[in-house]
Symmetry: C2
Subunit: 156 residues, 2 copies
DNA sequence: ATAGTTGCAAAACCTTTGCAAACGG
DNA sequence: CCGTTTGCAAAGGTTTTGCAACTAT
């Protein structure tokens, strides 16, 4: 019984990256798999230490760095100076950031994805990766009620 | 004869931000107006010093910071850790980054903009700012020739 | 056995800040 | 004039690195 795509298993994730499986890296991989948010390095380290106290900052940064380079982890910089991480094995999605609360919602728009590819192609490029972030604020009650808009959202 | 929108004049830019007009800030504003790329703080400082040697790092960062806060400057973080700047008075556009060369092209898609607003609205939000970056690689010659794709590009 | 990995502490890197002197309006 | 702005140098926050000991394979 092998995992189809998502390396929901930490050891697999590490091996996929060509890394040796160590206690410390297992702890980090586990954190990434369990994460439902977009933790930064400091948070990954703190959570990993709950699994294995011995994880050092250096190892956390080194592991996150390799996993990112190998494409197994996606990175974001929602706020100024810190890099945030997210497993790459999840279906692609973009982010909507509530600028008041910092809350991050994920969304997918097949339509936007399509347009992006179209644009890149028009310039003679193919997309390697992309990043779409909407910094938003809760809207005023809204007078024009366009409820059917939701239709575009989840076509992935 | 007043400028309609773009403060193509450095002093105006500074006054729009509620700042006093100093030699150093004039140099920085000039750099931003002349910039055809997306310089980071270090580059802005270096270029500003060509206009006025006395500009210090502190002033560069402080000025860029205020201009950004006042919304006169847009910021990006294409690469990991450095913030890049760009005058906000230009028509909105997104970025296509050539991952091989680092070259940055700008594009506009009214269609994507529209979809973004639609998505935000569906979640009950309104967009304050957004960021769309396509990390691309020059495409292989391409077998299916879709030249008319260019149509979507410049509807702004 | 041995190449890869570790923690530690120091360094590197980008950005911010305290302060007294200098300056703009 | 008086509040703002300056340069300097030091501090801040995040990420990287050199090294000797340790460990997965």
């Amino acid at each position: 019984m092998n995992k189809p795509f998502q390396s929901s298993d930490g050891d697999d994730l590490l091996r996929d990256a060509g890394l040796r499986v160590t206690r410390q890296r297992q702890a980090i991989a586990q954190v990434l798999i369990e994460a439902e948010d977009h933790p930064n390095a400091e948070q990954v380290l703190a959570r990993a230490r709950e699994h294995d106290e011995s994880v050092s900052q250096a190892t956390a940064y080194r592991t996150l760095s390799v996993l990112s380079e190998k494409g197994l982890l996606h990175t974001h910089t929602f706020d100024k100076n810190v890099m945030r991480f997210e497993l790459a094995d999840r279906p692609h999605h973009d982010h909507l950031i509530d600028v008041e609360t910092g809350e991050i919602r994920e969304f997918v728009s097949a339509e936007i994805e399509r347009l992006q590819r179209k644009i890149a192609k028009a310039y003679g490029y193919e997309i390697v990766a992309h990043r779409l972030e909407l910094f938003c604020r809760k809207a005023a009650p809204d007078e024009t009620e366009e409820r059917q808009d939701t239709a575009d959202l989840s076509e992935s």
